[in-house]
Each structure stands twice: as C-alpha cells, then as structure tokens.
Symmetry: C2
Subunit: 340 residues, 2 copies
C-alpha cells in the first residue's frame, strides 16, 4: 500500500518537474530534487511500473520519462491540490476588469487577462444567446422601405439585422411596432421566443399586420437561430513562446482550429459554472487539438450559465495554476455580467 502511495508521489514529481523544466526527467534528478526518501534505483523500479501502466513513457531508450496523457489525467484527478491565487493576482483581476465600458470591452479584457495570467492562449465565449433573455427590441427606420432591428439582451449583447419591407411604412407605425414587440418579447428567453412569433401575427392590430409579417422572418432568424456564437481569442503569441517541441511539427493546425472557432465552441458547450473541466491531449478527439490541453469553465451567476471561458496550451502545462486562474476569472466575470 505504501507502495502505491509512493508510486503516485513519483508520478506527481515527474509531472511537476517536467512541466517546469521541459526536460524528460530521470531517476537521479528526481531523487535529488524531491526528498522521496528512497534511492534512484528504487525510483527506477517505480518508474518501470508506471510506464507499464501507461502513465509515463520515454521518448527514446535512455532518456528520462515524460508523462503521457493518461499520466496527466491521473495527476489532475488525484494528485493536484488547488493552488490558490496570490493576492497580487486577485488584485490584478479586479483592477483589470473593473472599468470596462461594455460587453465587448469586458470580454476583451477578460481574454487578455487570462492570457497574461496563465501565459497560454485564452478563449472567452460570448454569452450564449439562447440562454439570454430579451432586454429590449429596437426598431429604427433607416430608409423608406428599410427597417433596422436591434436586439439587446440582458447580458449586454447586441444583435442587429436590416429588414426590407415591401410595403411603404407609415411613420407612425414604427413606434407602435416597437411597443408591440417589446411588450411581447421583453424578458423572454431567446430559446423560447420563437414560439411566440406566430401568435404575434394573429394578435397584432390590423394596421400593423403587414409590418409584423415583414419583420417576423428576420425576427425568428435573430431570436431563434442566433448567429453562431462568437469566441474571443487572445494570447496566441504564447504558442510561439514555448519550446518548439510543445507541439508536434507545427502549430498551424492549432491556430487554424482557434480561428475556426466552431471546434472550440462545441467544447465550450459542455461546460458548467461549478466545475473546471480539463481535457488533455487525445481526449479532445479533434485532430488539431490532440496535442493540446484545454482548461475550461462556465461563467455566470449561480442559477444560470452564460457561456464558457478557458485556456488552451500544450499538454505540458501547469494544470493547478491554470485551473485556479480560469476559475477565479470566471467567477469575477460572472459577477460582473450578472449585476449589469
């Protein structure tokens, strides 16, 4: 039993050393840097077992050992203590995020902050529209047969669409339409708003029917099929910083995946605000991410998750530190957006 205990301790030491030095770690160095109380030879035996179990591997015969994805997984699940942020870091979060003027600004600052804190690539998802509610619908006439529809959500996100109205629009009708739309939709979740559009057509005053009909298609499109969720990416320069061997061959596929957004967004869909989710290397299924790890968490208030944020980096990353940073930032952003 004390056996297994120590073997795990050895794994932890390997992960820690490898993360900080980026060199395969051998039994001798391990015995020197950590006082495990046993000799290198004993450690070698433990390492042989760990390798057989698939937790570590050696790049080539007679180099040190390197953790495998499975090894990192065990480390994250059982061996890593939550590393509290320093007071300076906490202060940095507040100082950095306070003073943001609008949603775009908040998310922009968040992604920069997270990238700086973790020295990894940071990703922040815009608040998911389907979970947001309508705060206000604005209708503006921009030309004779043209209306601009602006949707403002309770998370501060703004979506706009231009609608062509075949019929001439009576000037007085626009404010009426605005009132009608707002009384119908204000406070309604976007996911549920679509169902109300048909009903609206029937109950609208006769003289507005034409207008409502013209607008309804766009309305459905805006409310129900919210434009693909957006992602803010920052700190890509950190990819180039790490050792060239962090990513097999080139980092081109990873950069492509980050720009593609859809891949990352799908992963973001699974987050919730209470637990930090870690995906390591091959666990990501997607080819381009198979050499990378993601640390993600949802942000939002207790009762409602708005979106996700996290960092992307080499599997060789400081998991405890990044998990702590991601969680702390998510909490703060959640409060910030909940109260606005």
């Amino acid at each position: 039993m004390a056996h297994d205990e120590r073997r795990l301790e050895v794994l932890r030491a390997i992960v820690q050393d490898f993360v900080s030095t980026n060199d395969p770690v051998g039994s001798k160095a391990l015995a020197e840097r950590h006082d495990l109380g046993v000799s290198p030879a004993t450690i070698r035996n433990d390492m042989a077992v760990l390798e057989e179990q698939g937790y570590i591997t050696q790049p080539h015969t007679s180099a040190g050992r390197v953790p495998t994805d499975k090894g990192y997984r065990l480390f994250v699940d059982r061996l890593s203590a939550v590393k509290p942020l320093s007071a300076a870091e906490r202060r940095a979060i507040e100082r950095f995020l306070d003073g943001a003027v609008d949603l775009h600004d908040v998310l922009g600052r968040t992604v920069r902050l997270l990238a700086q804190l973790t020295r990894q690539v940071a990703v922040v998802q815009y608040p998911t529209l389907s979970r947001s509610a309508v705060r206000h619908l604005e209708v503006v006439q921009v030309a004779a047969g043209r209306l601009l529809l602006v949707l403002i959500t309770d998370t501060g996100r703004v979506e706009q669409r231009v609608v062509d109205c075949p019929a001439d629009v009576d000037a007085g009708a626009v404010p009426e339409l605005r009132t009608l739309l707002n009384s119908a939709f204000a406070g309604v979740k976007l996911g549920e708003a679509g169902d109300k559009v048909p009903g609206l057509l029937e109950t609208a005053p006769v003289h507005l029917r034409g207008l409502v009909a013209a607008v309804s298609a766009t309305l459905v499109e805006t409310l129900v099929e919210p434009s693909e969720d957006r992602l803010v990416v920052g700190g890509t320069a950190n990819l180039a910083r790490g050792s060239a061997m962090d990513f097999p061959g080139t980092m081109q596929p990873l950069l492509e995946a980050l720009e593609e957004q859809v891949v990352v967004l799908r992963l973001m869909g699974e987050v919730d605000a209470s637990t930090v989710l870690v995906r390591i290397g091959e666990e990501n299924a997607h080819e381009a991410l198979s050499g990378a790890s993601l640390v993600t968490v949802g942000y939002g208030s207790a009762d409602r998750s708005l979106g996700g944020l996290g960092v992307v980096g080499p599997t060789r990353m400081d998991y405890p530190g990044n998990m702590a940073a991601v969680r702390a930032v998510a909490r703060y952003v959640g409060h910030l957006l909940a109260e606005s």
Copy 2:
C-alpha cells in the same frame, strides 16, 4: 542605357524566383528560367552591381542572391505590373461577402476572405467612428435609475453604454429624450457631435434638463472619444505555414504586435482609398514588424474613407498578387458598406 534596363530585369527575375522558390537564386538558374538573352557570366556582373547598390545580398559567400528591403521597394515601385485577379477570384469575393447579415459579419467574412486569397495574415479595421455619422441614438430604461444608451452609426457599427441616473426617471421622459437626442444628432458626424452637447443642455425643455445632464457625460464619451478603434485579425495560421526562416527566430513578436492592435492601427491611419500602400521590412520602424511587409489600402466610398484593411506577411511575399487582392476586396467592401 540598355545596360540599366537589363539590370532591372535581372532584379525583377531575382525577386520573382525568390518569392516563388524561397531559395537564394544564382546566376545559372536565373539564365535558365528566364530568357534574358545573356550568359550566366554576364548576369553575374549585373548582380555584382546590384549588390553594390544595395538591392540584393547574399546570405553567405557562396549562395545565391536574395533581395533586400531596398530591392523589394524598387520592385514594387517600378517593376511590378498590376496582376488582375482571375475571374474565379472575383466571383469568390462576391459569393463570400454577399449574404453577410451585419457589420460584424461583413468584416469577419472580409478578413477570412483576404487571408484565404493571399495566404497571409489579414487585418481589417472597423469603420473609424470619428468619420461615421449618427444614424440613430436609442435610449432604453433598464432599471429604475439606469439607462442604456445605444449609438448606431451609418456604417452599421453599434456602441452602447450604461448610464446611472441619480434622479428617478419619469417613464414618459425616456421617449422624449430619445426624440430630443435624435433630432439633435441624427446625421451628425461623430467628430463634430461633441460640440453640440453643451448647446443641447441649454435648449432642452426644462423637465428634461436633469436627464440630459445625467446623460451628457456619457454621450460625450461615446461620441467624441470613441472607444479605441477595433481591428479584426485573421489567418494567423498562415504565419506558421511559411518556411521557418521567413521570420527571424520566432514569430512571437509579430503575433504580439497583431494582438496589441495599436501598432497596426496607427499604420492603418495613414491609408487612403485610392492607392495601395506597401511597407516593406525595416520601413515599418516598429521592431516587431521589421521582418514583415504590410500591404494596406483604405476602403469606403469615393468621398469618404471608412477605414483600412490589408495583409501582413514576410517581406518575401507576392506583392503584385497581394496588392491586387487587397484592392479588389477593399473596393467590394466599400460598395457593400456604402449602400447599407
């Protein structure tokens, strides 16, 4: 005279070959691939002169020649013919950009298009606020003492701010305020709108004075000190594609500069819509860009430039092709935004 003529022809050939092969080009290869009508020995003499004049250089004593920044400059200024886009490319531009639903979408598509067309990093500037005009100002009451101010510009850009009103807000006052603001500011250029705020305070109906006073500070902030101009960046994966030697050492500084935005935005400030501006290597002054070239142009209608767009890549790039692509895309985007 025919002398100098041929020497320039040699320079052009060197640039073209080096851009396409990425290998230093020697006199022999040059004589084979281009029919200059003279022997390698003669070309060698020309190259010696070109090198003395600073247009080309050799990486090491016995390798071929490589163009210098000065060489590229001469090539761009005097030796490159405008390369018209293929019909397929023109069609791609239309197909790609039509069907964009809003400004964000237009710029997002533009940057992707440009990155794909040129296989370089693409940058697109949001329409500069100070050159835009107010299309509509929206006021929404989101809570007892809180107003949301939304500015919609004629270029489709949307800015929003939350205003805290110390006094209680009379429900009926909000529409009045909206009307007041719009009649005062609709159509006004943002650069000139600031001057009108003080006047507004005096001429406003008495019962609105308090409200106007509360809003005016934010109004000035939104209109006059427009939030830093935004930049959309895409195709960074193309940086990793090129040969590792395209950028000295690492591309980290370049990625940082692109995220910083401010560096690139300053360069964008100088563009105009009529001429494609090319900055080569060291001409960029800024450290991080000293190994890169920028090809930029303004977009907008004839009478009014909205912003800039362009590509960033290694000095070893296809200047004629990129200039053509950048110009064509800028034209199309200009039309698209002018008519919306």
